[in-house]
Each structure stands twice: as C-alpha cells, then as structure tokens.
C-alpha cells in the first residue's frame, strides 16, 4: 500500500456512505459500526501512505497519479491525486478528527431519530474532504468543495423539524455559495489562460509569468473569495455561528477538519501563485486580522458554549490566513493542525457537557461542572489552555510561529494587531471555562442531574487532549526526525521558493506570546472568577451601547438583512414592475389585444356570400396582372 493508493482513503468512506444511505436503516444499530469501521480503515491506511511517502526520495514528495476522466475534442480532463506534505498534514488531521468524531457520535447521537442517516453523511463528509485535499486539479477540487458544502448543509440541517436548523443550513449553504461562485470564476479564469486545471501546472505557469499580472491578480482574488466563504472570514463569517444548530459532533467536524479549513488549505495550496501577485498577500493578511479581532470581540458577549467556540474558530481561521498571507504555509498549516485537535476537543467536550447536563448549553444555566464531570472538565481545560496559547500546549507553538513569520513579512503593526487578537482569544476562552466549569452552579437543579458521560464519549476526548498537548512539539527538528519526517514541521511543509525553515526558539516572541495569553487569562479571571458576574455586569452597564453591539455581533446579520430587504427586494420590486406593466400588460396582453381588435375590424370582410369571394378573387387576378405588366415595364 503506497502513496498511489491514497485515493482509497476517500473511496472507503464514500463506499460506506452508499451502503449506509441505502441500507443503513435496516442494519443493526443503524450501521454506526460500518461507518466507524470505514473511517477507522481510512485512519489506519493513512499510516502506510505516510510511510511510503516518507521513504520515497527526500521524504518531501510530491507524488502524483492521474487517469483520463473524459475527453472533449482535443481537450482531455485528467483526474488524479497529488500528495505532498500539505496533503499529508491535511490527511492526518481529517482522518484523526473524523475517526474521533465518529466514535463520539455513538454516545452523543444515541436514541436520536435518523441515527443511520447521521452516520451515512458523516462518511460522505470525510470522504469529500479527503478527496478535496487529494485532488491534483481544480476541477476535482471544486467537485469535492461542493460536496463538502452539501454535507455541511445536510448535517447542519439534521434536525430539520426545527425551523432554526433549517434556516441555519440554508444560511450556511447560501453564504458559502457566494464564495463558491468566486472560486468557480477564479478557476475558469485560470483555466482560460493556462489551458489546464492541474494545480501544479497552473502554479508553474504563474511563477514563469505566463499570466498577465492584472489577470492573475483578479483570478487569485476570486479564488480567495472562495476560500473566504468556505472559511467564514469576515464578511462571510455569519453562517458559522448559526451552524451550531447541527448536532455537536458535526460542529466539531466542520470546525476542525472537514469544512472551514478547506479555505485555508486552498490558499496554502495556491500560495506560490498568490506570491506572484503579492498584493493579494496583503489582502489575505488584512482579512485574517480583521476577522481575528472582530470575532474575538463577538465571542465576548455570547453565552452559548458552542457559539463562543464558533466565533473562536472563525478567529483562529483568521490566524491561519494571516500566516498564509505572510507567505508561511508552514505556520498556517501548523496552526491548522494544532487548532484542529484542540478545537475538535473543545467541541466534543462541549457536546459531552450537553449530554451530561441533559441538553443545556447556555453558560447562564451552568457553572461548577468540573466536580460533576471531571474528565470532560479536565480535557476542556487542556483544550482551552491550548487555544489560549499557554506553553507547552499545542496552540502556543503554532501561535508563536505565526507571530514570528508575521514580524518577518509585515513588521510590528501586524504583530501587534494579531497579538491583540491573541489576548482576546485567551480572554473569552477563560471566560468560557470559568463560567461553565468553575464557581457555583447557577441552576442547582441542572447541576444535580449532571453526570459524566460514558467512555465512548470520554475516550475521544482523552485522545484529542493528548494530541492537544503533544502535537505542537512536532515543530522541533528532533521530534520530527524521531518520527521519521525530514525534520520539524517547518522543514516538512514549506514554500519551495522559501525553502525549509527550521524552528528557532526566540525568547522575545515566546515570552511575549506567554504574556499575551496570561494577560487575557488574568483579565478574564478577574472578571469572572468564582462565578461572580458583578464586575462584568457593571462593565456591561457602564457601556450599554458597546455591550449591545457585542451581543448583536456588530449588527452584521442586521446589515445583511437590510441589504436584502432594501437592495435585493427593492431591485426585485423594480424588476417585477417592469415585468408586470411592460412585459406582461404591454407586451403580452398588448399584442393579444391588438390582434383581437384587428380581427374585430377585419371580420367584416368575411361576408359569407359567394359572389363577394368570387369578386375579390377576380379583382386579385386583375391586380396581379396589372402589377405584372407594370413590373415588366
């Protein structure tokens, strides 16, 4: 089993989806065992692929394999897989997280209706995402891209009896679709000029200057719009918090591995082309920074555990874009990986809280859960600290990397803005943990009935907690080589034009990073420690308008609603007026009336008397004869 069989990783869950979708409801236990077996096989097969990949050449690949899919005239569409270090990292993340989520779901979804359907779509979701990262051409990538969007639509709207879930699914679908149109335009633009969909070919042509500068700039910006939509960057971020309507394991999957990181992956994959038109890098960085800071504030005033985590994901994706914009795929992919592990952990732990407390997820009702749910509480704490960036947990190393590369590329202004976003991250994460797990239960009735969840749920939590602790260490050369990689993360994933980049411990940045994290943690602790809310309440009363703005998430939804109401509906009104009065009344009905009136006038010619007809016939002949004579001169 070598890298050329990597497509099996996607094919196996896809096969499981077909079986589950058709026969799942008749299988014992809804076929959850089949789903788990499929994704476990993918997870297990990843290791031989990795071993084969590392044993070839310098262990950096890349590896390609393609078959002709179809041919139109002289134009052939090859479909193939492409495996390079970025793909390897993505495969590791997707298979691991999907595997854990599948196991967790057995506990979480127990007794839910359409249990089999849930597992079916989970498999399709994982398969689509694996296909997306394996695709060697933009066409296949786009197909997988839309499949991923479809799966998230299906899973967000899983409880389709609930109106809010249906609307959230619709919102996610429509919002990402706006980005997808951008991506499609970008792909077509690139194809038009390059004559191929193959990503590596396009990147090579871009670097050789085959495209005009402005042309490539426009195409890459369209590609980036696609990435923004999928990765929920401002201003497309509105769908992700609403996507919390889906079952919690789905949130974990969407946020960590299979949906939102697709945008980050795409940007990193296409980064050499983005670099050619380096104005785009600034755009990417600014979008990432704005997103990281805005969503940091939005997470402040949320009281739903899952919504806080949702905003946190958007913000962390912003971090990844910032790193990509700094031309450092290693930092971006590194943060993607560590974030996937601790965010999946946090979401699954939140799911564990929801099950443990019998479906309560509002922080205002919770509190003091640590004693009741020691494993969930502890793992949640590990995830939170990793997210806040406390050493030596995973999030610290990746955030530190991003700050370092950001300093190199853009200088202090970007670093200080991102540092600020890091403080916000630490702040809301601490708030979330304190208000959920520490202090006195705000609703004793809920706390009384809270119990720790079964091992099928805590198991994945423990495994992901372990990864959240250790996965950051792969940044070190020694850890990398010990695992068989050519070196640390930066020596495995890197931009060819930049070359590998070993990790150097920079005390100033590491120190600053720790200080930022602690600053956020202590501010938050001062405000919320011990379940006291008086300080934060006073803060809210001190600036009620600011607080309102945070609670309403900077009025983005209202803004869009207004844009739809006044812009689109206003335009529709004009169009419908035109349709009603010009097209219908004047054009369609008007022509009918003209015809009808003409008939009313002309019917009098029809006398029914034979001599009249004979006379007109004779006159016609005479007229024709005269006309013929005149014409001949």
């Amino acid at each position: 089993m070598g890298a050329e069989q990597a497509w099996l990783l996607a094919a196996i869950p896809a096969g499981a989806f077909v079986v589950l979708a058709l026969f799942g409801r008749y299988l014992a236990r809804g076929g959850d065992w089949l789903g788990i077996a499929a994704i476990a096989t993918s997870f297990a097969l990843f290791f031989p692929v990795l071993a084969d990949f590392l044993s070839e050449g310098d262990g950096l690949g890349p590896f390609t394999a393609a078959v002709e899919w179809t041919r139109i005239g002289d134009f052939s569409f090859p479909m193939g897989i492409f495996v390079d270090p970025i793909t390897i990292v993505m495969l590791a993340v997707i298979t691991t997280v999907a595997f854990m989520v599948n196991i967790f779901s057995v506990g979480y979804m127990k007794g839910e209706p359409r249990y089999w359907w849930f597992f079916a779509v989970l498999q399709l979701f994982a398969a689509s995402m694996i296909l997306l990262v394996l695709a060697d051409n933009l066409l296949l990538l786009y197909i997988a891209w839309e499949l991923v969007g479809l799966c998230s639509f299906l899973l967000i709207g899983f409880y389709w009896e609930k109106r809010s879930a249906v609307e959230a699914a619709k919102k996610a679908f429509v919002t990402t679709r706006i980005g997808d149109v951008g991506l499609l335009i970008g792909i077509i633009l690139l194809w038009r000029e390059a004559g191929t969909f193959n990503i590596q070919e396009i990147l090579r042509l871009a670097e050789e200057g085959h495209f005009g500068h402005t042309y490539l700039l426009v195409a890459m910006l369209f590609i980036f719009i696609g990435a923004m939509g999928k990765s929920a960057q401002v201003p497309f971020h509105v769908w992700l918090p609403d996507a919390m309507e889906g079952p919690t394991p789905v949130s974990a999957l969407i946020h960590a591995a299979t949906m939102v990181v697709a945008g980050v992956y795409l940007v990193n994959r296409m980064l050499p082309a983005f670099e050619v038109v380096d104005e785009t890098l600034l755009v990417i960085t600014v979008v990432g920074l704005v997103t990281a800071i805005l969503t940091g504030f939005m997470a402040f005033a949320q009281t739903d555990i899952k919504k806080v985590l949702a905003y946190s994901t958007v913000g962390q994706l912003g971090f990844m874009f910032v790193a990509a914009g700094a031309g450092a795929p290693e930092a971006s992919m590194f943060h993607l990986m560590t974030h996937a592990f601790f965010k999946a952990l946090l979401f699954l732990a939140a799911g564990s809280v929801i099950i443990g407390t019998h479906h309560h997820q509002d922080m205002n009702e919770l509190g003091g859960l640590w004693k009741r749910m020691p494993i969930t509480g502890t793992t949640f704490l590990i995830g939170s600290l990793a997210l806040a960036g406390v050493p030596p947990l995973a999030g610290f190393w990746s955030k530190d990397e991003i700050l370092v590369v950001l300093d190199k590329q853009w200088g202090p202004w970007a670093v200080s803005l991102l540092g600020f976003a890091a403080i916000l991250t630490a702040f809301y994460t601490t708030r979330l943990f304190i208000r959920t797990f520490l202090g006195q239960p705000r609703d004793p009735h809920i706390a009384e009935h809270t119990t720790e969840t079964p091992p099928v749920m805590t198991g994945p939590l423990l495994f992901l907690a372990l990864l959240s602790v250790v996965s950051g260490l792969v940044v070190f050369h020694e850890v990398g080589t010990a695992l068989g990689f050519p070196g640390g993360f930066g020596e495995f994933v890197f931009l060819p034009s930049h070359g590998p980049h070993g990790y150097e411990f920079d005390a100033a940045f590491a120190g600053a990073s720790v200080v930022l994290a602690l600053l956020g943690i202590f501010t938050s602790g001062w405000l919320y420690w011990g379940g006291r809310l008086d300080r934060s309440t006073r803060l809210a009363e001190w600036q009620p308008r600011l607080y309102d703005m945070l609670v309403n998430k900077f009025y983005f939804d209202e803004l869009y609603q207004a844009a739809i109401d006044y812009g689109i509906l206003g335009f529709s009104y004009v169009v419908s007026w035109f349709d009603r009065y010009v097209v219908n009344d004047t054009g369609v009905d008007g022509s009918a009336q003209v015809t009808g009136y003409a008939g009313f006038i002309l019917k009098h010619l029809q006398s029914g008397r034979l001599p009249h007809y004979a006379m007109s016939l004779a006159l016609g002949v005479v007229v024709l004869a005269v006309a013929g004579l005149v014409m001949r001169g």
Binding site: K603, H604, Q606, S607, G608, R609, L610, P611, A614, M615, A618
Partner: protein, 102 residues
C-alpha cells in the same frame, strides 16, 4: 392554319363570359356553368399555345384532358352540394347560403 391570336381571343372571350356568369348570376347552376366556361377557356389556351410552341408534341392536349377530368369531378361534387342546398333551402340562390361568415 388558324393564327394563334384567334385562339387567344376566343379563349379571352370565353373566360370573360365565365367570370361574368360567376360574378353576376345568383343561381348556383349558372355559377357552375361559368366556372366550366373558364376552365374550357384555359384548356383552349393550353392546347393553342402548346401546338404553337412545339407542334410535334401534344403536352397541351394532355393538360386539357387532365383539366376536363378534374372539371368533371368538380362538377359532380358541386352538383351534389347544390342538390343538398336545394333540398335544405328549397332554393339554388347562392346569396341565401351565407352562413359561412363571422
């Protein structure tokens, strides 16, 4: 040899008489007879022009035979209609059969 002009003149007179009959008479039988006159004028024209242009061939006569055949069928049909009309209306005046109007 009778010159062509005489044939054409006779044919024109016959045709004009036929048109007059069709336009001026009210009796359906007479209208039919007018039509027959016009058909015969046309047949005469055919035969005359054919023998004038190419005396060795009888194409015009063949046409005339066809016209006579069609005219016979037409008269058979038309008389049947006239008889039906007479049975229904007790008249053969074409002005009375004016139902074919708006």
């Amino acid at each position: 040899m009778v010159p062509l002009e005489n044939y054409v003149a006779l044919s024109g007179i016959l045709f004009a008489l036929g048109v007059y009959a069709v336009l001026a008479r009210r009796n359906a039988i007479l209208v039919l007879m007018g039509i027959e006159l016009m058909l015969n004028a046309v047949s005469l024209n055919f035969a005359a022009f054919a023998s004038y242009l190419d005396p060795d061939r009888v194409t015009g006569a063949v046409f005339a035979v066809f016209v006579i055949t069609v005219a016979a069928a037409e008269v058979g049909l038309a008389l049947a209609i006239v008889i039906r009309l007479f049975r229904l209306r007790a008249t053969s005046n074409v002005d009375e059969a004016a139902e074919l109007k708006w």
